[in-house]
């Protein structure tokens, strides 16, 4: 071996990786040109380079094994007798570990006496003993997945913040034109509320005009002048720098009057934002991380919607990682795989009645399912969510675990009832688990189309499992392999191997190594014993032809059937569910929604619930607003934040509050005041409390006297929805339903119902909802201009001070 040569190579890789990182961090031209500003991708590739250089570097220090350029072993080798002078570990890392771990933990290789570590692992099970790293990583990933799902996506630990501290009685003193800062002062007797608010430099606070009565309704007349940064403060005087540009309106607020101002820690006119803040605080890594790295999710969505999906970058990243660790996603990361492992261990592995052999027509289902899914995606129908690994486990968690979590911690009456969609999904999940009765991890090996993506990715692998000639044909590796990735001749089915390294750990002769793909050192003979496998794999050409045909036909007919029994978007009378705020237009929405269920989990009060078959197969499990159950909180934008495909756009809270997802429509034949049944103001109060002010009162049933003058005390105040203000949050419907239908039993259905459809919702692919609202506002003719007398054209005099004695027309 020539370790020097490989060390140089390792350094070269490291330098390239570091260059990559630096270029990305400094936004260099080359980085833009190569990576098109995909920072995550650049970092992934750089990380790969560095990791690979590290592997090369470490491999050069190996002792006592056949040569390799890259060695990727982390299995726990079987105990084998060695002489005392021989180090039992050949790798640098192994030798280092042995030097720091107490001897009682280590096995004695001279006497073949097991150490404590080996004994403990043996008691956990053979797969733990063979490859403990893999089990630990699996467990960690499942724990991360569950934490993200059950804790990060759990909205109910958010609580609204109080009004905060306030300091009253400030008056405007002067402003500093040079720095653009305002100086306010106050009498020492003035009061503050809240405990011990010390105004410290750098704090942000809100200045409010005290003269304006609190509780004014819209932003234009709000008493809040703006947010400022404290530059300097003492008990008598404070210097404030505006956080926003100085506008004439801002100047006016200070210069126009001698009124007094109060300083507030929180904007008193501001909207609550506790749900949004709660999620943002908890999302150290994105809540949808695992969905993002399921490559089938992003690829099929991108194909179906013919658009760029942000998570394609993460899919690319994970595929690149899997060039180093072939199909490592399945062996290590996938939470569905780990769950199946648990189920196999606990139940399926103990019942052998239904076992099938390791070869049959089923072994290639995954490829055909993948191809079928992609064919359907090409036709614009997204079915990958039904079979893709992470959506399957996410939905299962949602429908099985979430109700338990919700019921046990908050109350069982808070679980919405199950629909057809729930049942189908749960049945599918159990079907996936029960495949384990046929063979362990049957789903992962033969069915999972996401796994098929990685199998195809394995074609580009740079490392693989190799068997050396010291193999004694003991068959232990074939028995332990969870993925049927070892052929009868003990060599590797490279597309199936997940690098779990269990085989390496059980091999009594240490014949198995995980090294670079091109390594040919001391390999055993192939096809000994004969495998009867063709170049195309186990089932050969016939299977490929038949399966391929079935795939194309299946994919096309699936797409056709879905469309035929689908949402019928061209039909104006077709069913249109109210979608979450920020959903892209319905056609694209159906193409992009992967039906993973992440948005349901994160939605406070289960406003979003899965659709059943109202839109045929096309809308199954897509999120829809169930306003009879609960209304969309104005302080929450979580659904968009966790959507892995961008079907629900990640809107800022300010954007979300003006995104019209539907329109509340009053049923004038049942609404209590309209029907002259009784007074009722539930919806109006609700809308005002939420801050939308989209429902006004109107007078109905008023009696008039002979002159047409209304008679005091007649008729009722009834709701009147302002179409341009209503965002369709459904809070009004929730309340009407809860009180008038469920509690008082006055109605059969809510008298105000949020409906979607043409003209009732704004669904933008890109662009700002705030701008859209402003646009609509300006398009609307201004009443003032129609009514007010045309202002007489006034002369603006160009000031020429030197010639004019009375430029201001003061007349003196």
């Amino acid at each position: 071996m020539q370790p020097i040569r490989y060390r140089v190579l390792a350094i070269a890789f490291a330098v390239t990786g570091i260059t990559c990182v630096v270029a990305a961090a400094t936004q260099h031209e080359i980085y833009r040109w190569i990576f098109h500003d995909q920072f995550a991708l650049a970092l992934t590739i750089a990380g790969m380079m560095l990791a690979y250089s590290m592997m090369l570097w470490l491999t050069t220090f190996d002792r006592g094994r056949t040569g390799a350029v890259t060695r990727l072993d982390w299995f726990f080798p079987a105990l084998k007798r060695r002489s005392v002078h021989e180090s039992p570990s050949y790798s640098l890392a192994g030798r280092w570990l042995r030097s720091i771990i107490p001897a009682s933990f280590q096995s004695n290789h001279a006497t073949k006496k097991r150490g404590l570590f080996r004994k403990t692992l043996r008691s956990l099970g053979i797969s733990w003993l063979a490859s403990p790293v893999r089990r630990v990583v699996q467990g960690t990933c499942l724990a991360i997945f569950l934490t993200l799902f059950l804790i990060v996506c759990w909205p109910y630990n958010a609580s609204p913040v109080g009004p905060g501290n306030a300091s009253l009685g400030w008056s405007f003193e002067t402003l500093d034109q040079q720095s653009g800062e305002f100086i306010l002062g106050r009498a020492p007797s003035a009061t503050s509320t809240g405990s011990g608010w010390s105004l410290t430099t750098g704090d942000t606070l809100f200045v409010v005009e005290e003269r304006i009565v609190q509780g004014t309704q819209d932003a234009e007349t709000s008493a809040t002048i703006g947010d400022f940064m404290v530059v300097k403060s003492d008990a008598r005087q404070i210097r404030l720098a505006p956080r926003q540009d100085i506008t004439p309106a801002l100047l006016d607020s200070f210069l126009d009057q001698a009124g007094s101002f109060s300083l507030h820690e929180c904007d008193p006119a501001g909207w609550p934002r506790h749900y949004a803040d709660n999620l943002a605080r908890k999302e150290i890594i994105p809540a949808e991380t695992f969905l993002m790295i399921d490559p089938l999710v992003s690829l099929s969505t991108a194909i179906a919607s013919r658009s760029w999906i942000g998570s394609l970058v993460s899919a690319a990243a994970i595929l690149i990682v899997c060039v180093l660790i072939p199909r490592g996603f399945c062996g290590y990361l996938c939470p569905l795989g780990t769950t199946i492992d648990l189920f196999d261990w606990a139940i399926a592995g103990r019942i052998k009645t239904f076992r099938v052999p390791d070869d049959g027509w089923w072994v290639h289902i995954k490829y055909y399912l993948l191809a079928g899914t992609l064919v359907a995606a090409v036709c614009g129908v997204l079915v990958s969510g039904f079979f893709s690994a992470i959506p399957v486990i996410t939905r299962a968690m949602l429908f099985l675990v979430e109700p338990l979590q919700n019921g046990a911690t908050r109350g069982w009456h808070l679980n919405p009832s199950f629909g057809v969609g729930h049942i189908v999904s749960i049945a599918m999940f159990f079907a996936v688990l029960c495949l384990g009765f046929f063979r362990p991890r049957f789903w992962c090996k033969y069915v999972c189309p996401s796994g098929a993506m990685f199998s195809l990715g394995n074609l580009f692998r740079i490392t693989e499992r190799k068997v050396e000639s010291s193999c004694i044909h003991c068959n232990k590796c074939v028995e332990i392999c969870p993925f049927d990735a070892i052929k009868p001749d003990f060599t590797t089915r490279t597309t199936d191997c997940t690098m779990c390294q269990s085989c390496g750990g059980v091999c009594p002769t240490h014949a198995i190594k995980f090294v670079e793909r091109w390594n040919i050192v001391e390999l055993k003979l192939e096809n000994d014993p004969p495998t009867k496998e063709t170049a195309l794999g186990r089932r050969g050409f016939l299977s490929l032809a038949a399966g391929g045909t079935a795939t194309v036909v299946g994919g096309l007919s699936m797409a056709g059937a879905t469309k035929a029994l689908g949402a019928k978007l061209d039909d104006p009378n077709s069913y249109r569910p109210v979608r979450p705020p920020g959903s892209v237009p319905e056609k694209e929405f159906l193409e992009m929604c992967i039906r993973c269920g992440e948005c349901f989990k994160v939605c406070p009060n289960n406003v979003l619930q899965p659709e059943g078959f109202q839109q045929g197969l096309e809308g199954l499990w897509t999120p829809m607003v169930q306003a009879d159950w609960a209304g969309c909180e104005s302080s929450c934008n979580s659904c968009g934040q966790v959507c892995p495909t961008g079907a629900i756009r990640p809107l800022a809270l300010e954007e979300k509050r003006v995104a019209r997802m539907g329109l509340a429509i009053v049923n004038e034949s049942t609404c209590l005041p309209f029907a002259a049944a009784q007074a009722c103001d539930l919806c109006v109060k609700e809308c005002d409390a939420a801050g939308y002010h989209a429902i006004e009162f109107t007078q109905v049933g008023t009696e008039v006297d002979a002159n047409g003058i209304p008679i005091e005390g007649t008729g009722y105040l009834a709701p009147f929805v302002l179409e341009d203000q209503c965002v369709g949050c459904g809070l009004c419907q929730t309340r009407c339903y809860a009180i008038n239908v469920k509690e008082e039993r006055l109605l059969f259905e809510s008298a105000i119902i949020v409906k979607a459809g043409e003209g009732r919702e704004d669904r933008l692919m890109v662009g700002s909802y705030i701008e859209l609202r402003n646009q609509k506002r300006t398009q609307r003719p201004l009443m003032q201009e129609q009514v007010a007398p045309v202002p007489s054209p006034t002369r603006t005099v160009e000031p020429q001070a030197s010639t004019d004695d009375d430029p201001f027309g003061l007349g003196n």
């Binding site: 009004p163 210069l255 609960a630 027309g809």
Partner: protein, 437 residues
């Protein structure tokens, strides 16, 4: 004091100019009435509108601003200083002072002449916000606004009905609604009858919507509002609120007093006068209104038992124009009686030991609260049954507050959960009232 401040400000400005002479190429200077000085560039002057545009830099950014003459003390322009509004001690404070006085009850006493002068001086002015208020009525509205309206109720055409049905119940439309009446008045300058009606409406709106008494009084006086109508009673109340009871009494002379006079007399602590009017009305078909108002007056004066007898009259006589009216009046009377009993009885120091349960409507249904009282102390408050889904925080927060404060009077609604919170408070009050000794 003011001049001291000005000197200080001037010194600061001077210091800045001295330190940064390059920035002083904008040589013009504006002195505002509140003492602030700005330097910048005069852009344009509109003598007729008595305003000018001035561009000044703040923290390096240029802002163009229009200043009205009456906010400006002086301008230094082209090296010359022009005094635009002479600085007097009270000048900058005049408007807010008047505002504050107008809205403060009972505090100031004024002579007859002072009140009338105040109404004349201040009530006749247009409010600050009027110019900047954007109107938002439907385009279909008929701004001719005839005295009589034919046909069906139509808020989108008839101004009076629009004000009734859409403006009054919706706070966001109050100011635009008042501006609308001003617009109508402009159109009715030639028609005395319509103009009087407009002015009366305007006064009515200033009174009922904004409690702007000087302006309400000004317009109601101009419309010569009669005490046989509600608006006349409003005018009398304005006089009283502005500080002169005699003027109010003088206005209330007359044979035909609108029944709202009962409430006004009650508010003015003239309970006997209120009773006189109420007793007259008690013999008319308007007895329901009269009894309710009399009850309110007595309740305000702390004469609770008498108040209850009036409220009970409404329940006992059990008649009204129609069923809808009857329900409403009886509801009001019953509600008032309940409230009196509750607030009187729900004081925990007067509640016998025991466990009490009561429920009221919350967000999603009845919220049942169980209160345990021992030794005149609230020992425990729990929400024993509820169906709340949203705004969960109140379920634990509000009972804790009730327990801490040993009562429900000063409990803050849990923010974001007001309805549930209120329901818990109300249920607690009702539960405690059950145990009143």
């Amino acid at each position: 004091m003011l001049s001291m401040k000005s000197v200080g400000v001037a010194l600061v400005c001077f210091g800045i100019l001295q330190l940064h002479p390059t920035n002083s190429n904008a040589e013009d200077q504006v002195e505002l009435l509140n003492g602030t000085r700005l330097s910048g560039q005069m852009i344009g002057i509109r003598k007729d509108d008595r305003e000018f545009d001035f561009e000044s830099s703040f923290g390096g950014k240029l802002v163009k601003q229009t200043y009205a003459y009456d906010k400006i003390h002086a301008v230094t322009f082209g090296g010359k200083r022009f005094v635009i509004t002479p600085m007097t001690e009270s000048a900058p404070m005049a408007a807010p002072m008047a505002n504050a006085e107008a809205t403060t009850h009972h505090t100031t006493q004024r002579t007859k002449a002072e009140v009338l002068q105040f109404i004349e001086d201040f009530g006749s002015t247009e409010p600050d916000w009027l110019a900047s208020t954007q109107m938002n009525h439907p385009e279909t509205l008929d701004l001719e606004w005839p005295l009589k309206t034919e046909g069906k109720w139509d808020e989108s055409t008839n101004v009076g009905q629009y004000i009734w049905g859409r403006v009054s119940p919706n706070e966001a439309r109050w100011k635009p609604g008042i501006k609308l009446v001003y617009e109508c008045m402009k159109r009715h300058q030639q028609n005395r009858t319509l103009l009087v009606r407009d002015m009366e409406k305007l006064g009515d709106m200033y009174f009922t919507l904004l409690q702007d008494y000087p302006r309400a009084a000004y317009w109601l006086q101009k419309a010569d509002a009669s005490v046989s109508k509600e608006t006349g009673i409003f005018l009398a109340e304005c006089y009283w609120r502005l500080g002169n009871k005699e003027l109010a009494f003088a206005k209330l002379q007359g044979n035909l007093l609108h029944f709202n006079a009962i409430k006004l007399y009650g508010d003015m602590d003239e309970i006997e006068m209120a009773m006189n009017v109420a007793n007259v009305y008690a013999k008319t078909p308007l007895f329901n209104e009269a009894c309710l108002k009399a009850g309110d007056a007595l309740r305000g004066a702390g004469r609770l038992d008498e108040a209850i007898t009036f409220y009970e009259q409404v329940l006992d006589r059990n008649e009204a124009r129609n069923k809808e009216y009857l329900t409403r009046y009886k509801g009001l009377a019953q509600g008032a009686i309940d409230a009196i009993k509750l607030f009187d009885k729900a004081d925990v120091s007067r509640v016998a030991d025991g466990t009490y349960t009561s429920s009221t409507m919350g967000y999603n249904g009845q919220v049942e609260v169980t209160v345990k009282v021992a030794g005149s102390q609230i020992k425990n408050v729990t929400v024993s049954k509820h169906q709340e889904k949203q705004f969960y925080a109140a379920l634990t927060d509000t009972p804790k507050q009730i327990l801490d404060k040993q009562g429900f009077q000063d409990v803050d609604g849990t923010s974001g959960a007001t309805i549930t919170s209120q329901a818990i408070i109300n249920s607690t009050a009702r539960a405690l009232a059950q145990g009143a000794k």
